[in-house]
């Protein structure tokens, strides 16, 4: 099948610049159960958690994370209901502001892979005071054979791949720390058409 071109001839526009989220989003963006993609206690529920650290290894107390994910079968939900969660709809999106120790925690389910040949991951966006534009990254599930052949991971220097793979804690939870700078700096992503 031929690609269907969008009509009319698209006009290329210059994207508006991003700006830092600043220090004072706390009363505006986080909301009740924003970090609970499924209610705690749901069968198969898992905690995805970690700490956001700066270039000195110090926790960042004013960061916010958002995640976007498939359900366990690899389907990407496109349904409303994230802001007023009723506990029955899985929207595949969540938001969590870190605590004063720089820690965040989502309650969710493990995503399935969305494409053949790629490993399952959470898409992650990071915002913080002092961070002038949002950063995109991925948190892959650990222990997956498919990590080996994953397109994005195999394009990275081996020593940096680990920054995108969550680790399994003794309690079964997934730990994914975000290092904004320096030793073990997380791999952050630019997508085509992002400009610079």
């Amino acid at each position: 099948m031929e690609p269907v071109m969008s009509t009319p001839d698209p006009q290329q526009l210059v994207p508006t610049a991003g700006q830092t989220i600043g220090p004072f989003y706390g009363f505006a963006l986080p909301y009740e159960r924003g970090h609970e993609l499924v209610p705690p206690g749901t069968p198969g529920a898992v905690r995805l958690h970690g700490t956001v650290l700066d270039g000195a290894g110090v926790p960042v107390p004013d960061a916010m994370l958002e995640i976007r994910q498939a359900d366990p079968s690899g389907n990407v939900p496109a349904v409303e209901g994230s802001l007023r969660r009723d506990g029955t709809v899985f929207t595949g999106w969540g938001r969590c502001a870190v605590d004063p120790g720089g820690r965040y925690s989502f309650t969710t389910v493990e995503p399935g892979a969305t494409d053949e040949g790629s490993a399952p991951f959470f898409a992650v966006t990071v915002f913080a005071r002092g961070l002038l534009n949002r950063l995109f990254t991925r948190a892959y599930l650990p222990g997956e054979e498919r990590l080996e052949g994953d397109r994005l991971l195999s394009g990275l220097e081996p020593e940096r791949r680990g920054t995108l793979v969550a680790s399994r804690e003794d309690d079964g939870s997934l730990r994914f720390d975000v290092r904004l700078q320096g030793e073990g700096e997380t791999v952050f992503l630019a997508f085509p058409r992002h400009g610079r």
Binding site: V4, G22, A28, G55, E80, L189
Partner: protein
């Protein structure tokens, strides 16, 4: 603490070495002191979006009450300040409207004070203003908020540092890759050249796109002043397979 002159000198130096292709803020922008330890030092890794990255979260009328677009509607009375309406459209990088998508705003009150508990600015809180709003865009990508004009406020980046008045905006597109947070500024603010956050956008043309313009067509007789500000998100990656006439199946 550094003086404004020192900060402005640093800004000028970086601007001299910037190029016209830059449309986004520098992440590494030392005049904004908090960025020093919070920017990645490695280049961003260029990746093709896959799976979930191609699908934005969906929001709807169960998520957002239309009344949330009026920040002046407060129990017990009206906020103090210059009543304004900010309107505009959210477009993607191909000029197409972003439909039915969530827009979130937050701002200081007319005195430059946030209700956030860590805001220490010695300016009064307004019991009738929280400064938080939400809406869903219309079919033409339009949004509209009724609010009061926020005041500039001091911060501790350097000696006598003041943020120009602004409204924070949080935006989603049709893809997760288009997620963005930014700030809208007010026309003619003398604090623009002094502000390291705005000046982290190194090109004048790109900074100008962050400034709303006065729109008399939006102003209302004896009621409020109108501002217009359009927002362009980055381009989508799935444009060529956009469904039309039912021909929306696979990646062809």
């Amino acid at each position: 603490m550094d003086t404004q002159a020192a900060i402005s000198g640093e800004i000028d130096g970086i601007h001299r070495d910037s190029d016209v292709e830059e449309t986004q803020p520098r992440l590494d922008f030392a005049p904004y002191r908090s960025s020093v330890l919070r920017h990645p030092t490695k280049d961003l890794h260029h990746a093709d979006p896959e799976g979930v990255e191609l699908v934005a979260p969906v929001f709807g009328h169960s998520d957002v009450d239309p009344l949330e677009a009026d920040l002046t509607l407060q129990p017990g009375g009206e906020p103090i300040g210059e009543r304004i309406r900010v309107v505009g459209r959210v477009l993607d990088g191909d000029g197409r409207p972003v439909r039915g998508q969530l827009v979130e705003v937050w701002q200081a009150n007319a005195a430059g004070r946030y209700i956030h508990k860590r805001d220490q600015h010695h300016a009064p809180l307004d019991p009738h203003f929280t400064g938080v709003g939400r809406c869903l865009t219309g079919d033409d990508g339009s949004y509209s908020f009724t609010t009061i004009k926020p005041g500039p406020y001091p911060w501790r980046n350097h000696e006598n540092a003041w943020r120009p008045a602004h409204i924070h905006f949080s935006l989603f597109g049709s893809e997760f890759t288009q997620r963005m947070v930014t700030q809208m500024y007010f026309p003619g603010d003398p604090l623009f050249p002094l502000d390291p956050i705005l000046q982290a956008v190194t090109q004048q043309s790109a900074r100008d796109r962050l400034v709303a313009r006065y729109d008399h067509e939006v102003s209302e007789h004896e009621w409020l002043l109108g501002l217009r500000w359009d927002i362009v998100l980055t381009g989508t990656h799935a444009t060529w397979m956009e469904p039309s006439d039912g021909a929306g199946d696979e990646h062809a």
